[in-house]
Amino acid sequence: MREISLAEAVAELVRDGDSVALEGFTHLIPVAAAHEIIRQRRRDLTLIRMTPDLIYDQLIGMGCARKLVFSWGGNPGVGSLHRFRDAIEHGYPHPLEIEEHSHAGMANRYVAGASGLPFAVLRGYLGTDLAKVTPTIRTVTCPFTGEELAAVPALNPDVAIVHAQQADRRGNVAFWGITGVQKEVVLAAKRALVTVEEIVDEIEPHHGQVVLPSIAVDAVVKAERGAYPSYAHGYYDRDNAFYREWDAISRDRDTFATWMREHVG
């Protein structure tokens, strides 16, 4: 495995204008990598993520994003994402284009992307206004039953970024606990960066473990506590208090800017 720093990996893999998916479903959110993207002042990104949360609030608030592809944008268990809302409601710091799906739609878009298919089929969106405002929701007819189902196009981000608990020295990556769509987003993306808590000699089995073989990944970088304030199962807990504090930090534009300058740089 190539030795590389997080700064080098982001510099090499994430470019202005890219579509970038940082995934992690509550668990294992790639916070360290998101902060590195902010420090490197990437611009015009199409940010993709099922659950835009604090890191996307930060990326949007710092002006990195041109567009957001998502299915649920909130601070889980707390409330609104104020930078996300400010961008959509008031165009601050600049207007944000959105492409909005349901969780089932987004998950299946990644599955189609990972599978090399142009689209995915699901029972979804029926009767909702989502299909009216999102042009990437269409229908397809079953050639056997004649039933009409929803169709969504594959997602193939330029870059996928995820955080995992472990990699071995050959670059095989292990996640366990809640593993979300991490396997799918990595396999759907053109380039993949994985930050890990720890590099180990041998990956030990764990319940619900997902292993990505090294050939699926372009760079593996050690980033201890790289998912904080989210959590890494077996390493550290979610800092629920910080999620609550973020509400006050992010509510005001200046408070947010000051906090980012002091804590992210």
Binding site: H27, H101, D129, G208
Partner: protein, 231 residues
Amino acid sequence: MTATTDEIMTVAAARELRDGVLCFVGIGLPSAAANLARATHAPNCTLIYESGTIGAKPTRLPLSIGDGELADTADALVSVPEIFNYWLQAGRVDVGFLGAAQIDRFGNLNTTVVGDYADPKVRLPGAGGAPEIAASAKEVIMVLRHNTRAFVERLSFVTSVVKGPRVVLTDLGVLRPDETGELVLVAVHPNVTVEQAKAATGWDLRVAAEVAVTEPPTEKELSVLRALHAA
């Protein structure tokens, strides 16, 4: 113990959950209600969270749908695509629990925007798992606070269309659909009047011929609910 209106609503929601069902749980009030049910009259319910935990048995209420407690106590952990495709879409889920910012008289839900979609007054979180839970669960239990901002004549945006039989639990009472699908007030909570419920509804709320009064939360229900919150 005196119950708060939120506690009465949560207890009423928990009581709707029959034992032995497979329940797809959203975070917040639905999670509190489902776990209260599991800890009292419905110990054989299986709880599924959209994060991919099947059969989670949390002893404290998770703050998010992906808390480690859910993974630690689950029978099985699967990916998010699997939860939505193999479990929800496949029709295995008996009961879906949903909240919303707005509801209309037919139980359709809005969690997307207040105002115009392109230029919203309030941008809400969005759909999440709700449209497919609403469509695929055999039965949907909705929980939300009763006021005219939430109970509206016309939704700003239709995020989810609820299909199966359903019940709506509020902090004022209980609503069930009649044969046309329109929600009817069938019960009020203790110390709540039918007039209060009607005044808190943005349309001309239909009222059942006989309006029941909710049994107040028992000591057991309240103490278990508070323990779940405190843990």
